[in-house]
């Protein structure tokens, strides 16, 4: 550690006898910091971003997907995926971070829309059961809900793929 330089000492710099003060530590050689651990990597340096930022962005994504679903804009999960893919390049986020984010936004977005209808009194569970049965699948509500959310997720993931493909990685 170096001793802090007081302002009064700085003001004496260059004046006679000042060197005798000998307390201007920056003039000397500071102690070398300890060496960093060597971790070999060929990857570029990445930025993770703040947790709050991630939560806010995902919340916005979920809300966008949900509102769009209620409005009948079924393709919006795909757009959210594309946007996430583009942003991933800008933010240098790894796929292992963006893919789960897209999955959560798309599934939760459509799931939230279903919950909203259910809260308004629509018999969503019974309808889900009927839809599964009509499709020739086991007549469980969970089956139709799972397939619905899966469709949203697939839309989001292909969007993510496209977004990433449109922003190629710079050469190393």
């Amino acid at each position: 550690m170096t001793k802090p330089v007081s302002r009064s000492e700085l003001s004496r710099l260059g004046k006679r006898g000042s060197y005798r003060l000998g307390l201007l530590a920056p003039q000397g050689i500071a102690a070398a910091p300890p060496p960093k651990a060597f971790r070999p990597s060929f990857a570029r340096e990445r930025r993770a971003g703040s947790t709050t930022g991630w939560v806010l962005a995902m919340g916005a994504g979920i809300a966008l997907v949900a509102v769009a679903a209620v409005a009948g804009l079924w393709f919006v999960p795909l757009i959210v995926g594309v946007i996430t893919g583009l942003a991933a390049r800008w933010g240098a986020w790894r796929l292992r971070a963006t893919a789960p984010a897209v999955i959560v936004m798309c599934a939760a977005g459509w799931g939230a829309a279903l919950c909203w209808y259910s809260a308004r009194g629509l018999p969503i569970g019974a309808s889900a059961r009927a839809m599964a049965a009509i499709a020739g699948l086991p007549a469980y509500a969970a089956v139709a809900v799972a397939i619905t959310l899966a469709v949203s997720v697939v839309l989001g993931l292909v969007g993510l793929w496209l977004g990433r493909a449109l922003t190629p990685r710079p050469p190393r």
Binding site: W74, A126, V158, L162, R164
Partner: protein, 867 residues
């Protein structure tokens, strides 16, 4: 190389192209669908896809709705169970409101029914329905419906009814097109219903006619005669029944010649025969005596029959008539507590969810009815008005005749009829297939009707359901009739399907008329395919004055349960025992019950309607037990037989005796006939329903009953090539078999062999979706109980509606109090509380009061429909 910048560029570009391709593919599949895969994005979008069907699962709320086409305000009220009452200022508005109601609660059912009839089912459900579409387009329900509509004067009441009803349906369709709250099936397939037309209603009427009237019995006879031989076929599937019968019309009968078949919808019915017709007994006795015995069908004809049976046996259940349908009886005078008349009716039809019925009461000036309607058709079919009550049972007469056309390879598209070659009429159709290529179909038609096959031989069908029938107009007249005279006059124009119309009125009168067309051939054996060269053509029909009927009989009781309605002295041919006439087991039980009682109440009729007493068991079991007396039985067999002693013949689900009886009779029947079937190599696989040995073969049941009671040494008990044996020997083996099979299935304790462990009842979804049906649930009843169950071991047909109407009052005019119940619910939406809410009541034999005819809407939940 891989790190070369150009290669990197290629790779990145490829990645973009592939990603865009994937996005495009996903967008196409999700947005437009691919092949049979629906547009999953649109379908599963929570805001606008199939999920919006959930809106139809909510109970309706009181509201005011604007319906174009109305002339004045209509009030619709719903009770807690969803039963609707319509109150309108005129009949047109009432039926418009009915159309709107039907569409609101049964749109999928209605669309499926019209698609089925019009050969457009594959456009909705895909290639699995192509065979059905081809069959229906050949048979021609759509051609008949179009013909009926073309012939109907536009100012007739029936036309106005059909147009008003269609407008109501279309009002709902316009509404749902805006809200996008489609039933799930449409949203999931992306195939949406078009506007409703009067032709659609007439096609739905054709569906019902087909279900009740179109049979393949002559084809089965051809196959049986070819394999078993004509003698055995006619002995085991006789024209006239051999067992004890209970006809409701006991005669005396008068032969009045034959009446012509009307050529147009508006032609007035010929009440008496204009044509002397064939000698009364020629067609009846031809199969019974050697005198004018028909020839054994040729191998080519058998091949044609096999081809047609292969098609029809693969059709969805109900498209070809296969079971007797329904009970309806009436009593009056001393038979009814307090006098007056009382009617009970329970049509036996496929029990589905949703039900074939939609319950409704309609009140308009001059038109006050309450009962059950058929979604797709205006008005009600069964119920009562202010003066009369009516219910229907199927007459079961033979209405389908097959003709082997004479054709020549040198003269394609021609047939030989009455001395010269004639061109066949041709109709071309395109069948759209969801997820597949459209199919083209050309239907050829001879003077007899459409050509159904050209495999082996060219065979056409002459079916009474193809004759334009003014059913809508007739039902309108029945619904507004005040007495039997008007009722009878209205039914004079009814042509198909032939039905027993059972009647009771507010003055205490009762009656029944088996109205409709009974085709009479001048020559030949109508129960077999006949030559199409002209001599064996249908010469006409039984005149209306001569069809089976009864009015205020001395016994104060009339019961129709699909039994042969007349005795063997009736001077006209009306079909054979294989024509699905009930062997009179239900009718016998009904007459026994009604004849033995007086001062009956609604509860008495309800007890009979839900009776599970098996009349065949009551007839033959004492004799079977007598035959088993002295036979060497194992301890388990002895224990089993002891169950049958003292049994009351009721097929209760918790009755072990019932379980044993059914198994024993099935095995007795099989053991008697199967050696002959095996020896003759009867091709049962062609049509299990028509050719297999089972208790469903009512001819075999009654023949075996007859032999057991009166002819226990009949040669049929001796298998071909075996030493002579009688009924006792076959029965002994059958008992051993029955006990062994029950032991294997249900364990070694005979008292635990409950009928309900062997027999269940289900109400499947009309969509065929396993999870949307009800059951299977252990159930009582069988084929021969009044509370009938068809389709063993899991019955899916039976009493589809139970109704009892009692006319009571003084001063000559009574008032009706009526109760009814059907297994189902008013809504087709599985998410609705009204989807199957009536099932528990039906299952518990509970009835609900019908809204009174002419009563004001009483339910708290109301729609105000305004122009």
């Amino acid at each position: 190389m891989l790190s070369h910048p150009l290669w990197r560029l290629v790779r990145q570009f490829s990645n973009v192209i592939i990603a865009m391709g994937a996005v495009l593919a996903v967008l196409v599949v999700a947005g437009a669908g691919f092949g049979a895969v629906p547009a999953v994005g649109r379908v599963l979008d929570p805001g606008h896809g199939a999920w919006m069907a959930a809106a139809g699962g909510q109970l309706p709320t009181s509201q005011s709705l604007r319906l174009p086409g109305l002339t004045s305000k209509v009030t619709v009220s719903f009770d807690r169970q969803g039963i609707a009452t319509i109150d309108a200022a005129n009949e047109g508005d009432a039926l418009l409101a009915e159309g709107y109601l039907h569409a609101s609660f049964r749109l999928t059912q209605m669309d499926l029914e019209r698609r089925l009839a019009e050969g457009r089912l594959a456009a909705l459900v895909g290639k699995s329905a192509v065979a059905s579409d081809e069959f229906e387009l050949r048979l021609g329900l759509l051609r008949t419906a179009r013909q009926e509509w073309a012939q109907l004067p536009r100012n007739s009441i029936a036309a106005l009814e059909l147009e008003a009803y269609s407008r109501g349906v279309n009002d709902y369709l316009a509404q749902v097109r805006k809200t996008k709250q489609w039933p799930a099936l449409f949203a999931m397939t992306g195939v949406y219903p078009g506007n409703w037309t009067p032709v659609d209603s007439l096609a739905v009427q054709g569906d019902l006619t087909q279900e009740l009237d179109y049979t393949t019995t002559p084809l089965d006879y051809a196959v049986l005669a070819r394999s078993l031989g004509l003698t055995k076929t006619m002995a085991w599937f006789p024209v006239l029944p051999v067992n004890r019968q209970n006809p409701y019309d006991l005669g005396p009968y008068k032969y009045k010649g034959i009446a012509p078949i009307a050529t147009s919808l508006t032609a007035t019915a010929a009440v008496s025969g204009a044509n002397p017709g064939p000698k009364r007994s020629s067609a009846l006795t031809a199969g019974l005596t050697g005198a004018s015995r028909p020839r054994v069908p040729s191998a080519r004809l058998a091949k044609a029959a096999a081809a047609m049976l292969a098609v029809t046996s693969a059709l969805p259940e109900g498209q070809v008539h296969g079971y007797p349908d329904s009970n309806a009886w009436v009593a009056n005078g001393p038979k009814v507590l307090g006098g007056g008349a009382m009617l009970a009716g329970d049509p036996h039809l496929p029990q589905t969810l949703p039900s074939i019925w939609y319950q409704v009461a309609i009140t308009a000036p001059g038109y006050d009815v309450t009962g059950v309607s058929v979604p797709g058709l205006p008005g009600i079919l069964l119920g009562h008005n202010r003066h009369i009550a009516w219910s229907l049972t199927d007459t079961e007469n033979q209405a389908t005749l097959f003709y082997v056309e004479k054709t020549s390879a040198a003269r394609p598209h021609e047939y030989f009829w009455r001395g010269r070659w004639r061109p066949m009429r041709q109709f071309s159709y395109t069948i759209d297939v969801r997820g597949g290529q459209p199919r083209h179909l050309t239907v050829e038609e001879t003077v007899h009707g459409p050509v159904m096959t050209q495999a082996g031989q060219t065979v056409s069908v002459d079916w009474m359901g193809a004759v334009p029938s003014p059913d809508i107009a007739v039902m309108q007249q029945v619904s507004t009739a005040h007495d039997f005279k008007q009722f009878r006059a209205a039914l004079a124009n009814w042509r198909a399907p032939t039905q027993n119309f059972v009647y009771a009125d507010d003055r205490g009168n009762i009656g029944a008329i088996s109205a409709g067309y009974y085709p009479i051939v001048a020559h030949g054996s109508p129960w077999l395919p006949m030559p199409g060269t002209g001599a064996d053509d249908v010469a006409g029909v039984i005149p209306y004055a001569s069809v089976p009927q009864s009015y205020d009989p001395a016994g104060h009781v009339i019961a129709t349960a699909n039994q042969r309605p007349v005795t063997s002295t009736y001077p006209y041919y009306i079909g054979t025992t294989a024509n699905f006439y009930d062997p009179s087991y239900r009718a016998s039980r009904e007459y026994a019950f009604l004849d033995a009682r007086s001062a009956m109440k609604v509860s008495s009729f309800a007890a009979l309607q839900t009776s599970q007493v098996d009349d065949l068991a009551e007839r033959v079991l004492p004799e079977l037990l007598r035959l088993l007396k002295g036979a060497k039985l194992s301890p388990v067999e002895q224990q089993a037989v002891s169950l049958l002693h003292g049994w009351g013949y009721s097929m209760d689900q918790d009755s072990a005796a019932a379980g044993l009886w059914w198994t024993l009779w099935s095995d007795y029947l099989t053991d008697t006939f199967s050696p002959w079937w095996t020896s003759a190599q009867v091709p049962v696989h062609l049509d299990r329903a028509g050719l297999a040995i089972s208790p469903d073969q009512f001819s075999l049941d009654q023949v075996l009953e007859h032999w057991t009671l009166t002819d226990r040494r009949n040669p049929a008990f001796t298998p071909p090539g075996a030493p002579a044996q009688g009924a006792a020997s076959v029965l002994r083996d059958a008992l051993a078999q029955a006990v062994a099979s029950l032991h294997a299935k249900l364990g070694g304790d005979p008292p635990s062999w409950d009928w309900g462990k062997l027999h269940t009842r289900s109400f499947p979804s009309i969509l065929g979706a396993a999870g949307l049906g009800y059951g299977p649930k252990a159930a009582g009843g069988d084929l021969w109980t009044v509370d009938a169950a068809y389709g063993m071991p899991d019955s899916t047909s039976g009493p589809s509606w139970r109704m009892i109407v009692r006319w009571q009052g003084s001063g000559g005019r009574g008032r009706a109090t009526a109760v009814g119940i059907y297994p189902g619910g008013q809504s087709e939406n599985p998410a609705s509380p009204w989807y199957e809410n009536l099932v528990p009541d039906w299952w518990d034999d509970t009835y609900l009061p019908l809204p009174a005819a002419g009563a004001s809407p009483a339910g708290a939940l109301r729609w105000e429909l305004v122009p």
